[in-house]
Amino acid sequence: MWLKRSIAVFSLIASTAFIPVDPYSSSIRMPYQQAGLSKEQAAAHLLNRFSFGIQPGQIEAVVKMGLENWLQQQLEASLPDTELDKRLAGFDALKMSNETIVNHYLTPAQIILLGVRQKIIRNDSLSNTDREKYREALAKVMRESGVKPIQELHRQLVNQKVLRAVYSNNQLKEVLTDFWFNHFNVSLTKGQSQQYVMSYERDAIRPHVFGNFKNMLLATAKHPAMLEYLDNALSVSNDNERARRQQNNAVLRAARERAETRLNDTSMQGNALVQQAVAARRTQGLNENYAREVMELHTMGVDGGYTQKDVTEVARALTGWTVRPMFSNGPAMRFVENLSEEQLKRRGLIIDGDFLFRGDKHDESEKIILGKKYRGTDGYEEGVAVLNTLASHTSTAKFIATKLAIRFVSDEPSQALIKTLASTYQQTDGNIKAMIIAMVNHPDFWSKKALREKIKSPFEFAISALRATKAQVMQPFQVFNWCSKMGQRVYYYQAPTGFPDRANFWINSGALLNRMNFGLALATQKIPGVRVNLLALNNQHEPESADEALRAFSKILLPERDNEENIKRLTAMVRDANVEQKIAVAAAKTKNNNMYEEGEEETRGQVTGDKEDYKKEITSMAQVVGIIIGSPEFQRK
């Protein structure tokens, strides 16, 4: 008996190669052979879809370890990332709480306000007419109070995304983080939410990308970034019993009057700002923005079968869901901090991390949502129940299934595939890992129609080029700038829809030219802080002819693809250009008579002599690489 069990355990360990057992892992099948794909082709496809691009030698590595094992490892997402961690070490904001961030990374207006409050600058010394003085004032406050400009926070956010995408060994985790962030989009373009985006990705998205959908839904719903971005933080019921009682409380009334007097004193610009904010909030009642989008964009989909009445009712259920005050020494913060558990409860306040539920702003009347009755008196729990109902709705299963299928399989997925994924969603309580496995087990994933039919987004395109060339990225922000030029300013998409996941959104004339320009700039070392070593990429071997260069680099950059036709075209052109070149050279010969002189070998790389010739040699190889990266084939994944 003992023996039997130990053998069983033993064989289990052996078969899973040190990877902990996962309830779904044993069911990975991958019917690529049936689709007529070789192991190598299948590995390439898998890497194209579940990573940010194939690195040289990676297909061989995946084939060697087994495709199933690779996917399993990616689903575990626990590979060490020492190299990446080193690159991220200097980014202090990555580990900061929202509270630290809001008090540390400030907008210019907040910095000035702080300066005035701490009497570092004088209120009357300010005018927005003298920009030089304004900048000086900002610099002075930052110096003396130790705060930083918010742009620095954004820079770290953008940089970490680029670096993780390029260097993380847990690629699928990064791909899914990108996908789910976009699904639950928030944007740096909105001032009120920008300071929270760093934590949003880290705390609301990242931990859930392999988990159950409903947990991610709840985490995003309660996160300050989303609460501010879609205005739920402002959504209040004007008709609340507790609020009325408090209104009538004489002590509170006196306090409020005092506060109003103070607010009406606009002699300080700080007060003007506060007054404005208070006035804005005061005019708000129910705000349906989040309620609408949580149904339309996050869960059920626009045709999911809800009505405008449902939207309003969901909004009512979520009244009072707001952000915990976080400005240090702010009156709201002091107020909340000084309340005991008992006092919090009496006032109907619930604090959970940075989330604050205000019972006194919650709509306590009965609601009917999607035909289900909510009695109205469950406070915070009512909202949670509503979100769970949305998450488990059949429309949600179908909506999420469709979105995943579009991202990972094809722009036009089959109904059969969607059905399979949707039923997996329902059987597993919306388990994302299980859905990924169901996807690769489906023949559609491997079909000839799906192969290379997805167009990379600008971000995917840029990162895949960096991975394919083993680029050293010292200045990730440069990559972000290029992505913006190509049409994907990551973290800045204004609408809650997120970037559309459609080829024709990415591919337009301006964006396409910039993709080609990116290829050329990368290969010719014209992106500051991004370096590629093409010679090393080709095993330190210099191609001896244009044909050879084309062949070698096509194979390195576009493995497992049929590049023959492209090579033929380009070779013809190179030869064609050759003839023209000879004429041009003949014409220019008198001007440049050391063109064909010997001895360039010796001066190569030196500052003097034939520096131009050396540059051109490097350029020729680089140009081939640039053209391959900018080519149509490289846009596909």
């Binding site: 300010l126 005018s127 927005n128 007419t129 373009t189 001032g191 009120q192 205005d231 300080m268 610009q269 003007a272 404005q276 804005a280 005019t283 989008e293 039919e453 167009i455 913006s484 030029k485 609408a495 809650p496 829809t497 559309p500 080829a503 024709n504 591919i507 337009n508 004339s509 301006g510 396409l512 030219l513 910039n514 320009n517 050329l520 700039a521 010719t524 014209k526 001896e544 002819s545 244009a546 492209n566 075209r569 052109m573 190179v574 250009a577 050759n578 023209e580 070149q581 000879k582 041009a584 010739d613 051109k616 350029t619 020729s620 140009q623 640039g626 053209i627 080519s631 149509p632 084939e633």
Partner: protein, 419 residues
């Protein structure tokens, strides 16, 4: 060895398609084969200028005759009498800020109309939300995937071209999100295959790319590739860098001036542009707004002079072009404690074009008495921005229909465009 070196030299050089006389080979060749002729036709153009930050409409076009204004704005108040002719009294009720002088003639000539008390039915005072709603054109729905200008392009019934809709900005504005191709470009000169410091190599690369995109089996890449190179050729055929404005027009050297200059360049190239988009910033005047002089006046002068230069430059194209400005909301009727104004509700906008029934301030404003203000503090929105936008788009761009332009809106359009 010789073989290798030969590649290194000739191969390297081969990859620079050398051209004689500075004309890139592929262009010369294309010209020979007649391919360079622009396939695009001249269209009506709507130029939209978004004043981000919320312009103080009560100062730009001041209801100076309303006695409440002086009370509400003791130090910000201006009147034609006070400014000694610096303000143009439009109709005894409203007057243009002195900074708008360069545009005032167009009002007098009846080519510029002003709509006052315009804004969104959604009372948000958040810049972000208000801009978002104005640009999507759906004031109560954040999830609208497209922007109203993109939908307008779709409703012209014309074939899409790379330049149908152009925004002179780094990123595509929300107004142009959508199914129709729209180009966001901050500098037209960037619309090219570029190899820094090596233009010849760039030409060769361009040729290679063109050939590759020509043969790809992916239809979208194939079609867009063709369009890109066509568009690139057209832009290259004009000396954008040394563009000379017509009629002695001088653009201010400001972001808006430069944007409008580039838009003018494109219009004169007849590339089939129908919608152009530019931005103007600096309108969020919470502090020390100033009156005849100061931050607001300076910004407004740049705004006015940029548009006036553009209009002068348009010359014979004026019949085809209409300019419309917009801003997300107005500012408080009263001034605040720091010599500025805070976020309010309605503002005003300008429409300039030969087909505009101008010379008139279109408005439904009652008064600035507290009882007539929204929440007792703001100029209320008496004209829905969609009533203006839909009329201008319908009338000037000759949309086949306006159904779908502003989903969920069935209000009455203003009658601003003649004919």
């Amino acid at each position: 060895m010789i073989h290798r070196r030969a590649f290194m030299k000739s191969g390297a050089m081969a990859l620079f398609a050398a051209g004689f006389g500075g004309v890139p080979n592929f262009i010369a060749r294309a010209a020979e084969s007649g391919k360079i002729i622009p396939p695009y036709k001249r269209n009506k153009v709507l130029v939209c200028i978004f004043q981000r930050g919320a312009m103080d409409g009560l100062m730009a076009v001041s209801p100076f005759a309303d006695p409440n204004l002086k009370t509400l704005r003791p130090t910000l108040y201006m009147s034609p009498a006070q400014t000694q002719g610096g303000m143009l009294d439009l109709d005894g009720q409203f007057a243009l800020h002195p900074s708008l002088q360069s545009l005032s003639a167009y009002f007098t000539e009846g080519r510029m109309g002003i709509v006052h008390g315009v804004g969104s039915p959604n009372n948000t005072r958040s810049h972000f939300d208000a801009q978002d709603f104005m640009e999507s054109g759906t004031p109560f729905n954040k999830g609208t995937t497209s922007g109203w200008l993109n939908r307008a392009i779709g409703l012209t019934g014309h074939e899409a071209t790379p330049f149908s809709a152009v925004s002179i900005t780094n990123a595509l504005p929300r107004s142009l999100y959508g199914d129709r191709e729209a180009l966001a470009i901050s500098n037209l000169q960037d619309f090219a295959i570029q190899m820094q410091g090596n233009p010849m190599a760039g030409n060769m690369a361009a040729k290679s790319f063109e050939s590759l995109y020509d043969q790809t089996s992916n239809q979208l890449l194939n079609k867009t590739g063709k369009e890109s190179f066509e568009a690139m050729r057209i832009l290259k055929s004009t000396d954008i860098k040394n563009y000379q404005p017509a009629n002695g027009a001088v653009y201010p050297n400001s972001p808006l001036g430069n944007s409008l200059k580039q838009i003018a360049t494109l219009i004169k190239m007849d590339v089939g542009m129908e919608v152009a988009f530019a931005e103007s910033g600096g309108w969020d005047t919470h502090f020390n707004q100033g009156t005849v002089n100061g931050a607001f006046a300076r910004n407004l002068r740049d705004f006015s002079d940029s548009i006036a230069a553009f209009w002068k430059d348009m010359g014979t194209y004026q019949d085809d072009v209409t300019v419309m400005t917009m801003t997300e909301f107005g500012r408080t009727a009263h001034q605040n404690g720091t010599g500025g104004t805070d976020h309010g509700r309605a503002s005003c906008l300008f429409v300039l074009g030969n087909d505009v029934a101008g010379g008139k301030v279109y408005h439904q404003i009652k008064s600035l008495a507290k009882s007539d203000l929204e929440d007792g503090r703001d100029l209320p929105v008496s004209t829905d921005f969609r009533a203006v936008f839909s009329d201008v788009a319908m009338g000037h761009l000759k949309l086949k229909q306006t159904k779908g332009l502003f989903p969920g809106w069935d209000g009455k359009a203003l009658n601003l465009i003649k004919g």
